[in-house]
């Protein structure tokens, strides 16, 4: 091993150490706090979560809001990534900048922006009233819809970047080959482009889901009292109620769910990958 390689190996170990301290240790601490109550080992906190109706409801709500937002983001994100990948090469950077630009601002500020857009005096509700009359009721703010809109807005850039990168890696001659073989542009997309872009879709989906499931800010600002998600629950238990054990248990359950979904997604991807690698 030459000096350069040793240097890089050392840098690698520093990174590993950082991970151990900053990620593994806190997680272990959370796990221990959740099962070590008043000097005793117990699963009571977990039993509380799974036996109390309100916790179960929040769990289910977190799951479906995350899944729905992930799907919506994937559809919008794919369309956007595909649009950008088809722009002239010189202009693609500009379009990507526009997508990423929103990330330059604090999420809190952006969500306040959404409060205005979705609010009573906002353009959407004004337009709705104009079209359907004053009597029609429509509220967007402080609802699950607002939360989903917020999450989609928040995770979209990550998804676009992931899908865009895989789309760019697909040889342009492949779609030409497909077209020359008599396939319509539609067929070319579904048989060639889409299957080859799946790695990016899976990566985007993984990121989108984990960001969505663990979001704390979006439901806090855009959601109503009924739209609390797991993170909010963990926050309340720990900070407002002061029950560290329960808060930790909720956090850990959330972590397990996210890890399980990610593993499921990567298994799906591997299966697709295998199908394209071996016979």
């Amino acid at each position: 091993m030459n000096r350069m390689q040793r240097f890089y190996t050392m840098l690698g170990w520093i990174a590993v150490l950082y991970m151990l301290l900053m990620f593994i240790y806190p997680v272990l601490k959370v796990v221990i706090t959740s099962v070590w109550v008043n000097g005793q080992f117990t699963f009571d906190n977990y039993k509380t979560i799974f036996s109390t109706a309100i916790y179960r409801q929040v769990l289910v709500k977190t799951l479906w809001i995350s899944i729905v937002s992930t799907f919506i983001t994937l559809i919008i994100g794919y369309a956007l990534a595909n649009f950008i990948a088809k722009r002239p090469a010189k202009k693609q950077g500009f379009w990507l900048m526009i997508v990423i630009a929103s990330m330059f601002m604090s999420l809190t500020v952006r969500l306040f922006g959404w409060m205005i857009v979705l609010g009573e005096k906002g353009p959407i509700i004004q337009l709705f009233r104009l079209l359907f009359g004053e009597k029609q009721e429509l509220t967007l703010m402080f609802s699950s819809v607002a939360v989903i809109i917020g999450i989609v807005h928040f995770v979209l850039p990550f998804v676009v970047l992931n899908i865009y990168t895989t789309l760019k890696k697909i040889e342009p001659s492949l779609s030409e080959a497909s077209i020359m073989l008599g396939a319509s542009p539609m067929r070319t997309f579904w048989k060639v482009i889409f299957p080859l872009s799946l790695p990016g879709v899976y990566a985007g989906a993984s990121l989108a889901f984990s960001l969505a499931a663990s979001t704390f800010l979006v439901p806090t600002i855009l959601g109503g009292p009924k739209d609390s998600l797991m993170s909010n629950l963990a926050y309340n238990s720990t900070i407002t109620v002061g029950n560290m054990g329960l808060g930790s248990a909720i956090s850990f359950v959330l972590l397990i769910i996210i890890v399980a979904v990610l593993m499921g997604l990567s298994a799906l991807e591997r299966r697709g990958h295998h199908a394209s690698e071996s016979r």
Partner: protein, 374 residues
């Protein structure tokens, strides 16, 4: 019914097609006719427009002017997937997520052919390129040559009206290239498809083609059979492409068979367009333009040909495979270096500084008017 007679034989015609990119005319009013079953090569350096022409035939690029006519029908605006053409790409362009079999099936499924026919055709064409045993593999498990054969089978399987090749061999090494050339020629003879083949390699073009169109800056320099092009390159550009690598400047054409420089008379085999006696111009010579008279003590020759023999000194000599290449410095009235190739392996290699005599071979020498630097 003369019209329909012609359309039966003519496969594809380009009628004054033109392409302009950002104010640059990359294809300048090109006309081409290709008969049914003919193999045409578009030959030219990069930037000559050969690929653009191919892509206009394919429909991947729309001409700004002119028409593409297929069997008498104007297809200039027909989308590429409706043209029933086949294309073999430089990068193979096999679908990486499909097996070899699925790749070949792809175009047939897009055409919604009956299942039985699909199976039959896939078998037939995989067998034709000798890859039936690899039908279940993925493209990345195959070598470059095998991948290109799959690509060929995939394009052939749809039984296209014209088969288009976009520099298909430029990613292969020399031996594979030769194999593939043989294979393409064999398939063309066997199946009789009409083909347009883009290449920058004159040997590929000579090996495969019935007709060669030499392109330069978006225009056709010469369009004729390989034999005609070799024998009679109409411009210096074409000659340069086909092995006329020596150049002798500042010569005057005496009559239709002789050029003169200083006191030296050089026999001329071919004249470029518009060349007339008393024109000032230059000569292009193939590597076989000199017959060496007195190498290896062939003294007898020397005496016979004294009159036309030219003295030179060997500057460099080396083997090229089983041929010998010599760099000669002529100092017999003119000072000029030329490179010649002898079709045999000279042993021993003639030493540097050796004095020899040679005679010019008219059939390997062309005269062109002007200074050739337009």
């Amino acid at each position: 019914m003369a019209g329909s007679d012609i359309s039966l034989k003519t496969s594809i015609s380009l009628d004054s097609i033109t392409k302009i990119y950002k104010g640059n005319t990359v294809i300048d009013h090109i006309d081409l006719d290709l008969q049914e079953g003919e193999f045409l090569s578009l030959l030219g350096p990069s930037g000559s427009g050969k690929t653009t022409i191919l892509r206009m035939v394919a429909g991947l690029v729309t001409p700004d002017e002119g028409k593409v006519i297929l069997r008498g029908e104007d297809i200039s605006f027909t989308p590429p997937n409706k043209r029933n053409m086949g294309m073999v790409f430089q990068q193979y362009a096999l679908f990486p997520h499909m097996t070899i079999q699925e790749n070949v099936t792809y175009g047939l499924k897009a055409r919604k052919l009956p299942k039985a026919e699909i199976t039959e055709r896939v078998q037939k064409y995989l067998e034709l390129v000798d890859l039936k045993h690899l039908a279940g593999r993925r493209p990345r498990e195959l070598s470059g040559g095998q991948q290109q054969r799959v690509s060929l089978a995939r394009a052939l399987a749809v039984e296209p009206v014209v088969l288009l090749f976009d520099e298909p061999l430029s990613n292969l090494d020399v031996r594979l290239k030769e194999q593939m050339l043989k294979e393409i020629r064999h398939l063309h003879r066997k199946l009789g498809f009409t083909a347009i083949y883009v290449t920058h390699d004159q040997n590929e073009a000579l090996y495969l083609s019935d007709k060669i169109a030499v392109l330069n800056k978006g225009k056709i320099e010469q369009f004729s059979s390989p034999e005609e092009i070799l024998k009679n390159p109409t411009s210096a550009f074409v000659a340069d492409f086909f092995g006329y690598t020596n150049r002798i400047e500042n010569v005057v054409l005496m009559d239709e068979q002789t050029a003169q420089i200083g006191d030296v008379k050089i026999p001329v085999g071919h004249l470029g367009i518009d060349a007339h006696p008393n024109d000032q111009g230059f000569l292009l010579l193939r590597l076989n333009a000199a017959q060496i008279l007195d190498l290896q003590n062939q003294q007898t020759f020397m005496d016979e040909k004294e009159a036309t023999a030219i003295r030179a000194e060997i500057r460099d000599s080396r083997y090229l495979g089983d041929e010998t290449e010599l760099r000669l410095h002529i100092r017999d009235g003119i000072e000029q270096e030329i490179t010649v190739k002898l079709p045999q392996m000279l042993t021993p290699l003639p030493p540097e500084g050796m004095q020899i005599r040679f005679r010019f071979q008219a059939e390997a020498i062309c005269f062109y008017k002007g200074d050739g630097r337009t």
